[in-house]
Amino acid sequence: MKECKTHNEVYVVMNLTKRDLKTEVRVGIDTGGTFTDCVLWRTGEEPIVVKVPSTPSNPAEAIINGLERLCLQAGIPLADVHFLVHGTTVATNAMLQEQWGKVGLITTKGFRDTLEIGTQMRPELYQLHQRKLPPIVPRNLRMEVTERIDPQGQIVQELNREEVFQVINEMISNDIESLAVSFLFSYANPEHERMVRETAAMINPDLYVCISSEVSPEFREYPRTQTTVINGALAPVVRRYIQYLRKELTAKGIGDKRLNIMQSNGGIVSGKEAEVSSHHLLLSGPAGGIVAASEIANQAGFPNALTFDMGGTSSDIGLIVEGKPHIIQGTTINNAYPIQVPTMDIHTIGAGGGSIAWKDQGGVMKVGPKSAGAIPGPACYGKGGMEPTVTDANLFLGRLDPDHYLDGDFNIYPGSSYQALEKLAKELDLDVERVASGILEVTNANMAGALRVVSSRRGHDPRDFVLIAFGGAGPLHATALARELGIKKVVIPALPGVLCAQGLLQSDIRHDFTHTEVAALEIADSSRIESNFIELETRGTHLLYDEGISPDRMEMQRSIDLRYKGQEYYLNVPIQGEISADLLKVAAERFHLVHKNTYGHAAPEEPVEIVNLRISAIGKIRRFENSLQAHPEAAISTCVPIKHRPVYFNGQGWVSTPIYRRSDIRLDMEIQGPVIVTQMDTTIIVEPGQKVYADILGNLIISMEG
């Protein structure tokens, strides 16, 4: 029972560290499309997990409901919650549904159409009948003022303040809810943008104004303007939500300062700060899952991992490299709008359990992109869905338990699945089994393709990675995907259904700041760069201080964007210490290396150029050393399957397969597939030839043959 001993050792170590801490109560709440997941952690106690139905029209309702249920189970009053972290979809939904706030835009004379022209690339290559998403600000709310600054920050033409006064008044008479300002080269000299904000404050102090030199101080006018506009358009929506939530929480005794919000970069910010950095919240939901997955990957000794979170209508693929979530400096939202904000590298594909299988006009069976969604849902939901989905195929093939779907909280109808599959089978002139297994084959081939593209795009081979699967349907498909991709190990976390909520409690506070400083590295002015870094750090320190972070828990991470002279785009390289010519040389060396790893080649003899200075201001949150462990009692329980069920495996047909409860899996045993492991929020498939065991951290590790 070696593993058990190790387990106890860990426990002892935990007790030692705990002595230093006062009892703290932290809650993570992740709003999902169907459920709001809530986790409560207390020093020295097992976590409490609650899933409550989401309340899309007012997500705060589900949050309060979840909080109350958590506290009831913990036997504590709500006011005892010290620290609340929330993963919200309010910004994501506003974006997806294009329910932007009414924002006005002021630009340099001659450039109000930058927002609309964008890159001038069209959405579809072969479609004569195509439309482009309209710009977030209509042309009549985009106004110009006379001013011009050059790339060095010198004023070429003074700002015309009368024009500013006029256009702001005109916009206000058009009922704008917020105002975005984006001038050319404002990253080099923000003076004119600040003057506009001051003028606006004089006219209407309540008007929310965002300026591009603060929201996204990086060169290239289109992405900077777009990012600023997205901030302006989300701000009213996010503000309304957070202010309401804070009010509700305050009424329950959870004060203003205890609310924190998850950002797309995997760090958290105070609720107050989130109101002005709304564009950082677009991946607030999935980010928690990747943070938790990276913690798990590190603890379990697998620093390189692909994450696979499969839900009803879409699936998210994430990348963890050397123990850290891969962060990119910008992305595109709604397939249309670029946004310059540090973001986890998450790739979403429109395929999930609800994806519909159909016969195309060429006679081939396709799966998706149409989805049955939550309503009517898969045929087996019995809510009127008549077409076969991935979930129906899983059910028919015995992979899902008809009696215990979502722990029996949810009725499903296998007969309806059969009818839907049979209809398609007739059209294709195939038998039902073949169609059902084929739906999984096609789905897995599509997902494997996406996983390969995600890894090859960043220069990685998926075979060097483990696959961490979570979300309701991730563990159902993960082992087949791993087999397809040549991945050797699949990791299923202890609580795959609430991983995002769990990650919320493992994130540090994080603020990112940028300063564009284009200069040849060799002749760059180190003292000027140092003072610019210090200015960014001062801003970070102030923000963290306001959020109640003591100086000993603050950490400033400097990095610098570099490129070869003549290149358009840059790579981000960390740089630590006081800037000197020597230190910059070290950064350049590092850049050559990163360039080689990322792009396959480097040119050490070419001159290197500095593009941006970046600061991540981190406020360290004390970790609860992983308390989500395998249940100690599992070690002594008898591990027997709860039953056997025929399950269809490709190439083998129907196989009588043992079904285990997750909580019955003992630490010291390895079970040979085929096996199905069920738990409240997911079902795990272990294929014939694969093996599964539980590690001391509570993960199930499935290894492939050979």
Partner: protein, 580 residues
Amino acid sequence: MKKQSQVSPQPLVDSQPLPEKEEFDIDAITFEVIYSSLLAAAEEMSSVLGRSAYSPIIREMIDYSCGLFDAEGNLIAQAENIPAHLGSMGTALRDLFNDFPPHTFQPGDAYLMNDPYRGGQHTPDLHIFTPAFYEGELVGICGTIAHHADMGGKNPGTEGFDNKSIFEEGLRIPPVKLAEREKINEAITTIITGNVREPKATMGDIRAQLAACRYGEGRLNEIANRYSKGMLTEVMKRSLDYSEKRMRLELEKMKDAEATVSGWLDNDGVGHDPVEIRIKVKKCGKDIVVDFTGTAPQMAGGMNVPPAAASSAVLFAIKCVVDPGTQQNQGCFRPITVILPEGSLVNPNFPAAVSLRHLAVQRIADTILRALSELYPERTAAGTFVGFSSLAIDSWHPVHGHPRVIQDDLGGGMGAFPYGDGIDAVDTHCGNVAILPAEVCELSYQVRVVSTELISDSGGVGKWRGGLGIRRVYEILEQTHQGLVYTEQSNPDFAPWGLAGGGSGKPANIRLVRRDGQEEEMDKGYFRALPGDRIIIETSGGGGFGDPKQRELEFIFKDVREGKVSREAAEKVYGVTISG
């Protein structure tokens, strides 16, 4: 009678329906699984190339494509980023096979070519092909095409509207064996690096293309290993039948008809007379023929179109109208026959210049779409901006003074269609590249972008309005600059055409405005400009669709509110007076 070159194999008598069981147990599902692996493999090749490419034109403007071919050279799966590359690799591969028959291929070989007279597009587009083997047998071919920043020649970037022959267009590479059993032939790369302006970038990009091909070989090998060589070959064969079937099913739904139309280039790049592109489109049953008989002879300047490029334009136009969603492979070309008269501008005789073939390619696509619009207005749209307005100026870096070339291409309006307005200000048809950011311009060159705007009233009027063109103003900041500008569609007669009663778009134009206010118009030309001088490029708006009197009031109000249509135009054309 002129000799003709007929591109595309003879159509099959009938397509073979899926699913079907022959010697291999491949049903509609196995087919989809294996074929989607092949499509994904092409995408992965594309991501490998994009990631490892050196120059911005490949990495940022995404001017490259990747494909997988069967052992006979049929395109099976393609990840293309701009339609100009559509089907183009297949044409090149056929020429490669003439010189290097597939039975001579060895594992680790690689082939390089760019010759427009041997299956190429124009000299900057390099093709690289490698054979893929499984257990000693050829199972397929991996191919890439990428637009390199420069291939030598008299102009930076190699292209020129007034080039008189291919010899002014840099290094011409007939099919050559770039690598034999993994070993690169240094003689070839030495010749290349000795002839181009940015040898380092060129070699970096060639290595990226090669890396993508090698990646594709690995994936084909894995797929053969997973399912068997026989299954892979069978799926490749059926994928062609499958795409062909989809195209033919759509063609069958369309009425049999033919139309002959003429499209015009403003001039030949040297003189001033318009040049005719005459196209007959005939759709009969499940086949379609595009015949260029009657098109003008090859031109004196640099806009002639090699057959590979002409075919890409034809395929683009047909695919847009017949079935935009069909999976791209050789099978979708089977129903299409293209007739390109030899010695005409679409199949020029050696050594005509072809580097700016994309200007004529855009007009070819436009002309075919015009013919199709007469037959199938519900499937088409009004005329789109195809002028390809561009500028290239020799400049210097504002701080360190190194010489640099500014290049910028501007988009314009798309044509309106039966249920919607044309998109404003986009790169159109066979192109899809990005505009130069104003901040990048002023940071990198001694030239300032003064403004970049939509041009109000430039879209053709109609029930549905044509998309608007772009006006961009550049100002020289320091030193005397020399450069060239060019555009098509400056002639109002050739501006984007309206459809079903819609009006035409406003033509493109380019002006040089001197510091003292003097103006010179130039559609194609070289110039010398001093500090304070401005270059103004205006691109065309798209054509309108339908009677403007039927335009919904709501849209007219919106356009006037947004300044896309002036009050005067609203009153004059749409008959709506807006006050207040």
